[in-house]
Symmetry: C2
Subunit: 454 residues, 2 copies
């Protein structure tokens, strides 16, 4: 049994939804279909979700509600017409949207959530309607009947009972069409996951029904070994482990939302990233383990800018039990998470995403580290990029760090930090952001470029 | 004004003490002389401190006190006779030792401290006597008059008033001969520093009198760039910064006790490591800063075995604020200090000196990390060595990490961890201990071996 999820571009138009239907029909194992809201049809198009955010904003700030509402409704009407569906489904969608517009606005965030979620919810109704219209028995199922979320304001996640509630979801004869992106609290309040949250819904459903496979349909043939915006025509990845995928979750690998894989990861359910527009391409398989025989030592290289380094030094630091812990506590008390903490004997660097910092927070941290930890030197540096080389095959691969560092040094760039832990599945370099792209290309060439003779 | 400290081998015999006198006479700036207890005269010799430990053991456990006491006294008698001193000084020493033997044993550790310290204390008296006998006005000064220590059982350190108490120590006409290694609490209880603690005494005195230079006389011409027991005839270091010295304080660089440099470091007083047996050799200068012009990027390479790695992995670890801090807290609660914490996105390795671990502690840590932090995987690995490449000139030295990693990879050894923080004064590699010496030699060859042609 397969749970398949179709992203925004896969359900952006009638033409795309027809492809979805063909994919679902092609394999009777595909019993659960999770859909996003209609996405972009062309690069300057506006996603329905963004139209809905504009609509919510208009409602909350006395803007032009009607015009914005009609843009959403018309988008669905156009799809429905192109799919040859009658107006009934459009009436359902318009009525639903109006009810949301008229709903309680006392909690602005929840009101916005409620409007946003209508994109997925109504699209699921529309897709189910279309499936039935072409003789594929299908039913829309609302998350109200099982996808139970925690209460706000905590970051949204599914409560454990969800998996029990939904375990028989695929038992019927009909194909289940399920909206991604949202669920309901025990009190029936609608909440959404973070953006990209349809992936999470698909993953939760796959785990609930203990699917054999979770297919994630998007608009690329596969996950690439490096960011195609930086590296020219990078090699595609055919198989990757969960762990590799996680280590690569810096930018350039935004195929998956970070937390989306968690439910399937826990059960070891394989994931297949596939292309709605080219379903015969094998795509990228994300697996608990994979054979390393004959495979490349490096699976992928990711790079991301926007990091800062907090540098702290103190003579005899390493003799002081608790120094590192106290430093991390100060950072934690500012509600800041960190990436790495490379250290010398008397110094420690804490790598932090710069978006978490403000001048105020920095000043407070520096003051506390000086006063409470009696550090000799404390300062922040900004404009740092992290470059991560990932591969299960890197383990025990003598010389790989040497090759990587040599490739970087050939660009003339300086290495600000290096980090390789005992797992040896990843090797992290900190570099100045202005050298990031150049280094990414150099590393890609080192590990992936075909050897040219001459 | 110079404070000079002479180590155990520098005062091991009459012949050595004559060298000390010549060194002191050669420069009128040398106003304060700190002495250790007589050390080894030949490789199988026993240090007076070790004889005193045996004596203390005999007193506490009803052993042969007299024989062990006489060995100590005879050692001093022999030196005194060879220096042409009369028996009076030996009577003083014998009487002092007997008083210590008869002293309070209620706190065994303090009793042992009291006996051990007599080696330095009585040697200082003997050296002062000798100086006077050859017409060099000198006086023995007891730490009782100023070197104030904290109370037990806390690790011994000098209280701040020490520096005020001793600030005029060099003001008189006579040369001050001061015993190293010990001081007294406010209540007059004698306590010793850790082994090698005469270096600390010298450093404290140099800081107290704000000396222009702290000379540390030992039995080597200089600090070497790598352990001479592993690397054949390593290059000597002429200048090194405090920070480099600290980063090199793993074995092979045991010239200085870790904490010894702290007092002079704080005031930026330069240190000169020199050879009593070859005083014209320039030795190694330890300085707050040094010119990097024309200097080698790498100053030294140290290596040390006896490390363990605690490996912890958890899916989505880096999303969890406080994970690293909680892990370090568990380790801290076992009173364990750590060296480095290299990490991936979902894993963290904690490098720990293996001597701090027991089967019990390991089991407790693993249990707590699993139960309290819900880690996916937790285990210890042992038999790890740390190799540290150090140099102020490494900063902004593009390609140095590449050269180091390449040199290691040529040995065929695998790199278990790499760590380079933002200070860029050191680059740390974790390797399996059986590959340590081979790697140290390979790195030395890479960075120090003269280029041979042909």
């Amino acid at each position: 049994m397969i749970v398949c999820k179709f992203g925004g571009t896969s359900v952006a138009s009638a033409e795309q939804i027809k492809k979805v239907a063909n994919i679902v029909k092609a394999n009777p194992q595909r019993k659960i279909v999770v859909v996003s809201a209609p996405g972009k049809r062309f690069s300057d198009d506006i996603k329905v979700t963004d139209l809905l955010i504009e609509l919510a904003d208009a409602v909350l700030n006395n803007g032009d509600i009607e015009q914005k509402r009609d843009r959403v409704v018309n988008r669905f009407k156009e799809i429905a017409a192109d799919l040859g569906l009658n107006h009934e489904i459009c009436d359902v969608i318009a009525k639903d949207l109006q009810e949301r517009i008229d709903s309680d606005q006392s909690n602005k965030n929840l009101f916005i959530d409620n409007l946003k979620a209508s994109g997925e919810d109504n699209n699921a109704k529309l897709v189910a309607e279309y499936f039935n219209s072409i003789g594929v028995p299908a039913k829309y199922v609302s998350p109200k009947d099982g996808l139970v979320l925690n209460d706000p304001p905590e970051r949204t996640y599914a409560l454990p009972e969800t998996y029990e509630n939904l375990k028989d979801l695929a038992k019927g004869e009909e194909i289940v069409v399920y909206p991604g992106f949202f669920g309901y609290t025990k009190d029936g309040v609608l909440r959404t996951f973070d953006r990209g949250g349809s992936d999470i819904t698909g993953s939760i459903l796959a785990a609930s029904v203990k699917a054999d496979l979770y297919e994630n349909f998007t608009d690329v043939d596969c996950v690439f070994s490096a960011n195609p915006k930086v590296v020219n025509d990078p090699v595609g990845i055919s198989e990757i482990t969960y762990r590799e995928m996680r280590e690569l979750s810096y930018s350039g690998f935004s195929v998956f939302h970070d937390e989306a894989l968690m439910p399937v990861y826990k059960l070891g359910i394989p994931v297949n990233v596939k292309n709605t527009n080219n379903p015969s391409a094998p795509g990228t398989k994300i697996l608990p383990t994979r054979s390393l025989a004959g495979s490349h030592p490096v699976t992928g290289i990711s790079a991301d800018s926007g990091f800062s380094i907090l540098y702290v030094s103190k003579y005899l630091m390493n003799r002081e039990i608790g120094f590192g812990r106290k430093l991390l506590q100060i950072i934690e008390e500012e509600k800041i998470s960190y990436e790495h903490t490379p250290s010398g004997l008397d110094d420690i660097s804490v790598i932090i995403r710069s978006t978490q910092l403000t001048d105020e927070k920095e000043a407070r941290i520096i003051k506390r580290v000086k006063e409470e930890l009696h550090a000799d030197d404390v300062y922040f540096r900004h404009g740092i990029s992290m470059i991560v080389i990932v591969g299960e095959g890197m383990r025990n691969n003598t010389g790989l760090a040497a090759r990587a560092a040599s490739a970087i040094s050939r660009t003339g760039a300086n290495i600000e930090m290096i980090n390789q832990g005992s797992s040896e599945v990843s090797l992290v370099f900190g570099v100045l952001s202005q050298t990031e792209n150049q280094i990414l290309r150099a590393l890609y060439d080192e590990f992936f470029a075909p050897i040219t003779i001459g």
